[in-house]
Symmetry: C2
Subunit: 660 residues, 2 copies
C-alpha cells in the first residue's frame, strides 16, 4: 500500500491543480466552471476510492483464496470471484451514484443558473438540462484523470519493479521468484495489484462514466427532452440501463459456481454471458417503457434496443477474438512458439506480425457496430451501443479482477508449502484467469473505442459544428497529428519503463553490495527504498505523456479551431485503438508462447519437444520481455489517451462554441 500512500498524495495535488484551472476558467460568466471543478473532484475521488477498495479487497482475497482451496475448488472459486465481484460492483456503483447524484443536484436545485450568450440568466427546463449535462462532463474528466494515474503511472511502476526484481534478483543473484531477500519483490507485488486491479478498474470506470455521459448529452438532440414531464427518456435511459446493468451483474454473480472437478471457465462464462443476455432483454423492456412516443426524430424504442444489443454483441465478440489471438493451444500462439525454434529474431517478427494481424477483425467489428447502431438510432445509437457494451461492466470487471487474485493465491500456496492438491486447485483457477485477462484486455480496448466515439459525437454536438470535413486542410492536419500522438505517447511510456528499470537495477545491486548478510538471509533488505524508486519514477515519468494528453486538445482546439480538434480526436481514436490492439495482443501472445514451453514442454510441428530451458524457450522468454511494456504499460495507457483527449475536448466544447 506504500505506493498508494505516495501516489494518492501527488494525485490529490494534481486533482486540486486541475480543478483550480477548471474553476479559474469562468466558462460563461455565471460561475458554471466552479461546478465543473466540483464535478471533477467528485469524479476523481469516486474513481480513486473504487481503486483503493478494489486493491484492498484483492489483497485480502489472495490469502483467503489459498485458505479456501484447502476445502475444495468450489470454495476457492467462490472466494476468489467474490473478491473480484466486490471490486467490480464498487466501480460501477460509485460511478452511477456519483453521476445520478450530480444530475439530481444540478437539475433539481437552483445552484446552477443557465445564462444566454450575453450572460443574462435564462429560465426553462431545456437550458437548465443543457447546462447541467455540460457541468457533469467534469465528473467524466475526473474519472479520466485518475485512470491516467492508474494506467500510465501504474504501468510504469509495475514494469520498473518487475524488471528490476527479475534482472538483478533472479538472473544475477540467482534468487527464486518472490524471494523475500530480493529488495524489489515488494515493489513488484504491489505493482501487480496496481496494474491489474487498480489500473483495469480505473480504465473501465472511465469508460463506463464516459459512455453514460456521452449518451446523455446526445440525448439532448431529441426534441422531446424539452418536456421534462414526459420526454426525458433519451437523457434518463442511459442511467437507467446502467442501473439495471448493475442488477444484472449482481444476478450474474450467483451463477458463478462450480463443482469439484468442474471447469471454472464455464462458471465464469455463465455468469458473464448470462448477465449480458438478461441485459439484452431488459434493455428492450426499459426502452419500451421510457422512450417518448413523439419528438424522437423517428427513432423508436425498438431502434434504441437494437443499438444497445449491437454494442453488447460487439463487446463480447471483441473479447472472444482477443482471447483467440492470445490463448495457448490456439494457432496464433502456437505459430509464435514454432518460430522460436529458429531463434529470437523469428519469435519477435512472428509476434509483431501477429499483433498487427489481430487488429483486423476487432476493427471491422467496431466499424460494423458504429454503422449498425447509427443506422437505427443515429449518433445517439453509437453512444447507446457503447453503453450497451459497458452495461455489464460490473461482472466483466469481477471476472477480470478474479485473475490476479487466483494468480497470487497460487504464489501464496507455493510459498506457504501447502498440500499439492491446494496448488493444483489454485493452478486450475489461475489457468482460467489467463484467458479472462485476455478477454478483459480486448473488452477494455473495444469499450474505450466505443466510449471515445460516444464522447466524440457528444463533442461535435456541444461544440456546435455542422460537420468535420476531412477535405479541409486544418482537419487533415488534425487527423495526422492525432494519429501520431499514440505513437509518441507509447514511446514515452516505454522509455519511462526502461529508465525507471535502470534506476531499480542499480538500487538492488547496491543493496546486495552494501547490506551485509542480505543474501544469507540474516539481514533485511530496504524494500521501502525500492518502492520509493518505482513510485517516484512512475509519477515523474507520467508528467510528460499526461500533460500531452490534456494539453493537446486544448491547444489544437483554440489555435486551429473546433473542426481541427474533431480531426485530432478522430486521428487519435483510430490510431490509438489500432496501436493498443497491436501491442496488447502481441504482448499477450508472446506471454503465452513462452508459457507453452513450461510444464511439459512444447511439441513442435516436426514432433520434437522443446522444454523449459531449451534454446527455443529462451527465445520465447525474450519475446515475453519485449511484450511486457507493450501489454502492461503502453497498450493499456492508450485506452486512457483516447478517452481522456475526447473528454477534455467535450469539457471545452461550450467555450469553443461560444468563441465561434
Amino acid at each position: 500500500m506504500a505506493f498508494l500512500a505516495a501516489e494518492y498524495r501527488y494525485l490529490a495535488i494534481f486533482v486540486v491543480l486541475i480543478a483550480g484551472v477548471l474553476a479559474a476558467v469562468n466558462m460563461s460568466g455565471e460561475g458554471r466552471s466552479w461546478w465543473i471543478a466540483v464535478s471533477f473532484v467528485i469524479g476523481a475521488s469516486a474513481s480513486a476510492l473504487a481503486g483503493f477498495v478494489g486493491m484492498r479487497v484483492a489483497t485480502d482475497a489472495n490469502v483467503r483464496t489459498t485458505h479456501a482451496a484447502k476445502s475444495g475448488l468450489s470454495k476457492a472459486l467462490d472466494v476468489a470471484f467474490s473478491g473480484g465481484a466486490v471490486m467490480g460492483l464498487t466501480v460501477v456503483g460509485l460511478a452511477l451514484i456519483g453521476l445520478a447524484g450530480l444530475f439530481l443536484l444540478y437539475t433539481k436545485t437552483a445552484i446552477i443558473t443557465p445564462v444566454d450568450a450575453s450572460g443574462n440568466a435564462v429560465t426553462g427546463w431545456l437550458p437548465k438540462l443543457q447546462t447541467a449535462l455540460n457541468v457533469i462532463t467534469g465528473f467524466s474528466m475526473g474519472a479520466s484523470s485518475i485512470a491516467l494515474f492508474a494506467r500510465v503511472g501504474g504501468g510504469i511502476y509495475t514494469k520498473a519493479a518487475d524488471v528490476g526484481a527479475d534482472l538483478v534478483g533472479k538472473v544475477e543473484a540467482g534468487l527464486p521468484e518472490d524471494d523475500p531477500r530480493n529488495p524489489a519483490v515488494i515493489a513488484d507485488n504491489v505493482g501487480d495489484n496496481v496494474g491489474d486491479v487498480a489500473g483495469m478498474g480505473a480504465d473501465l470506470f472511465e469508460s463506463y462514466v464516459g459512455a453514460i455521459v456521452g449518451a446523455m448529452i446526445l440525448g439532448l438532440s431529441f426534441p422531446s427532452v424539452a418536456d421534462e414531464a414526459i420526454g426525458m427518456g433519451p437523457v434518463l435511459l442511459p442511467m437507467v440501463i446502467a442501473g439495471c446493468g448493475i442488477l444484472a451483474s449482481i444476478g450474474g454473480t450467483f451463477f458463478v459456481r462450480t463443482k469439484e472437478g468442474g471447469n471454472p471457465q464455464h462458471a465464469l462464462d455463465l455468469g458473464a454471458f448470462g448477465a449480458a443476455g438478461v441485459m439484452a432483454a431488459v434493455t428492450f423492456g426499459l426502452a419500451k417503457v421510457m422512450w417518448p412516443s413523439t419528438g424522437t426524430n423517428g427513432v423508436t424504442w425498438i431502434d434504441v434496443g437494437i443499438a444497445t444489443v449491437i454494442g453488447l454483441a460487439v463487446g463480447v465478440l471483441i473479447g472472444m477474438i482477443t482471447s483467440y489471438y492470445c490463448s495457448m493451444d490456439k494457432a496464433p500462439v502456437n505459430g509464435i512458439a514454432e518460430q522460436s525454434k529458429t531463434g529470437t529474431a523469428t519469435n519477435i517478427i512472428a509476434g509483431l506480425g501477429l499483433g498487427m494481424q489481430s487488429t483486423a477483425v476487432p476493427i471491422l467489428l467496431i466499424a460494423a457496430g458504429v454503422v449498425g447502431a447509427a443506422h437505427f438510432a443515429g449518433l445517439y445509437g453509437v453512444a447507446i451501443a457503447a453503453l450497451g457494451m459497458l452495461s455489464t461492466t460490473g461482472i466483466q470487471l469481477a471476472v477480470d479482477a478474479y485473475g490476479p487474485i487466483a494468480d497470487n493465491a497460487g504464489g501464496i500456496a507455493e510459498m506457504s508449502h501447502q498440500e499439492p492438491e491446494v496448488r493444483e486447485r489454485t493452478d486450475k483457477l489461475d489457468a482460467v484467469g489467463n484467458t479472462t485477462a485476455a478477454i478483459g484486455k480486448g473488452f477494455a480496448i473495444g469499450s474505450a473505442a466505443m466510449t471515445a466515439l460516444a464522447l466524440f459525437a457528444a463533442f461535435t454536438q456541444q461544440a456546435g459544428i455542422d460537420g468535420i470535413n476531412i477535405s479541409e486542410p486544418m482537419v487533415m492536419a488534425g487527423i495526422f497529428i492525432g494519429g501520431m500522438l499514440p505513437y509518441l505517447f507509447s514511446s514515452l511510456a516505454m522509455n519511462a519503463v526502461g529508465e525507471a528499470a535502470m534506476d531499480m537495477i542499480e538500487e538492488v545491486r547496491r543493496q546486495f553490495r552494501e547490506i551485509d548478510g542480505l543474501l544469507e538471509g540474516t539481514a533485511a533488505p530496504d524494500t521501502a527504498r525500492c518502492v520509493d524508486i518505482s513510485t517516484k519514477a512512475a509519477l515523474r515519468k507520467m508528467v510528460l505523456p499526461g500533460a500531452m494528453a490534456i494539453s493537446a486538445p486544448v491547444l489544437v482546439g483554440f489555435t486551429m479551431g473546433p473542426e481541427a480538434l474533431g480531426g485530432l480526436l478522430a486521428g487519435v481514436t483510430v490510431s490509438g485503438v489500432l496501436l493498443a490492439l497491436f501491442m496488447s495482443n502481441a504482448g499477450g501472445a508472446w506471454d503465452n508462447a513462452k508459457k507453452s514451453f513450461e510444464g511439459g514442454g512444447y511439441k513442435m510441428s516436426d514432433g520434437e519437444v522443446h522444454e523449459k530451458g531449451s534454446e527455443a524457450h529462451k527465445a520465447a522468454v525474450v519475446g515475453d520481455t519485449v511484450g511486457d511494456p507493450f501489454k502492461d504499460t503502453a497498450g493499456p495507457s492508450l485506452n486512457i489517451l483516447v478517452k481522456l483527449m475526447s473528454v477534455v475536448a467535450l469539457v471545452i466544447a461550450p467555450l469553443l462554441a461560444a468563441m465561434n
Copy 2:
C-alpha cells in the same frame, strides 16, 4: 536478371488483366474506359522500363566503380553517381514524356469524345480537358501497379533470399558472405538490386506521376482553365515544373565532384540542395509567367510559388530527420547500442520505442506543410507542394541509387583482391551511401504522404462530393477500416517473408546434402532453383496484399458510398504513413546500431568497449534481423499501399459521381 525475366512475364499477365477489367468497365458509355486501359498499359510499361534500365545500369556501374576506384576517389564517385543519375533521369524522363504525350494525344486529337450524363457527345474545351485528365489517371494507376510489384514482390524476394543465404550458408555451413558455393547467393544479390534500385525507382516514379496528375486535376477547379488560349496555367504548370525539375536535376549532377581526400557527402549534398534551391527560384519565375491573371479564385502566382517551396522544404526536412534517427554516432542509434548491453530484449524495446518516437516530427512537418500550402493556394496548393517536393526527384533518386552501387563496388573490390586503397575509397563512398539511403527512405515516405493527399484531394473533386464529414457513421467506419489496412498489409508482407525464407532454407539445406562436392567447391550449386523459389514466393505471396489494396477502395466505394471511401483513404494515409515511418526508422536504426559494434567496437557510456562478437553485438544482430522485414519489406510497401488505394479511388471517382 533471372528474377526480371520471370517477374516481367507475370507482370505482363497482370497488366493485361487489369487493363482488360478497366476496358470492360465502360465508364460512361463512350468507350472512355478503353483509353484508361491504354493509359494504364503505357504507365505500367514506362515504369517497368525505367526499373529495367535502372537495374542494368546499376549492375554495370558496380564493376566500373571498383575499376575507377583504382585511379582515385573522385573518379570512383563520378562513375558511381553517374550510374545513379542515369537511373534517376530515366525515371523522371519516362514519366514526364509519357504523361505529356498522353495529354497531347487526348486533348489535341479527336480520339476522345466527351459525353454528358445521358451519353450524348458534347463539344467545347472544358469537357474535353476534364475527360482527358480523367483518362490520364490510368497512367498513374499503371505506375502504381508496377510499384506494387517492385516494392511488395521485390521486398519479399530480397528478404527471403537474404535470410536463406545467411541462415544456412553463413550460420550453418560457415561460408563467408557472398561465397559462390552458397546456392542462395545469386538470389540474394539480385534481390538487393530489386529492392534498393528497382523498388525505390518504381516508388518514386509512382509518387512523381501521382503528384503531377493530382495537381493537374485540381487545376480544373480554377475557372480560368475554360479558356484554352490564356487560362491553362493551373493545369499545365505541374508538367512544366516537373520538366524544369529534370533540367535542375541534370544541372545538379555537375556539382557532384570531389577532390582526393574530400568528403563525397558534401558533393552529393551540393548537387541535391543546389538543384532544390534552383527549383525554388525557377518555380516563382514559371508561376509568374504561366499563372493566369483572372479566374483563379484569388490565388496569385506568388501563392503558388510559396506552396511549391513549402513542399520542397518539407521534403528536405523529413529527409534530414530520418537521417538523424538512423545515423551512426547520433543519439538515437547510440541509445539502441547502449541498450544492447543488457541483452536482446532491451535492444528490441529501444528500437521499437525509437521508431515510434521518430514519427512525431515528420508528421508535424507534413501537417504544417498541408496547412501552409492550403493557406496559400487551397487544395491545389497541397498538390503543388507535393509536386514541389518531388520536382527534383531526378537527382534525389540519383543520390539514392548511388548507395547500392557504392556498396556493391566495395564487395567486388574485396572479392577481386584489389589494393587496400581501392577498398578504402569504396568504403568512403559506401559510408556516405548509408546516410543517403536513410534520407531517401524518409523522402520516399514523405512524398508518398503528400502524393496520397494530392490524389485524395483530386478524388474528392472528381467524385463530386461536397465534404467528407467525420461525424457521419459511414465515414467514421471508413476511417477505422482504412486505418487498419496498413496493419493487415504489413502482417501479410512479414508473414510472406517468413514463409518464403523457410522454403529457401530447406532448398539450400537440400543442395548441401544432395549435391556431392558442393561445399568442397568441386560442384556448382543449383542457383537457378533458389532464384526460382524467391521469384515464385514473391509473386504468389503478393497476390493477397495486392488484391486487398486494389479491391478495398472499389468495394467500399460502391457499397458504402464515396464519402466512406474518402474516410477510408484518410485512414489508410494517416495510419500507413505512421506505420511506414515507425518501421523504416526502427529498421534503419537497428541496422546502424549493429554496425556501431563493427570496425573498432562500440564504446558504451561507462567507457567499456564492446567489439564485434560480444554479447552486446549479438543482441544488436538480432535487432537488425527483426528490422530487416520492417525496413525492406513492410515499411516501403506501405508507401505503395497509400498511393495505390488513392489512385484506384481517383480512377473510379467519375463512376461514383455518376451513380450518386
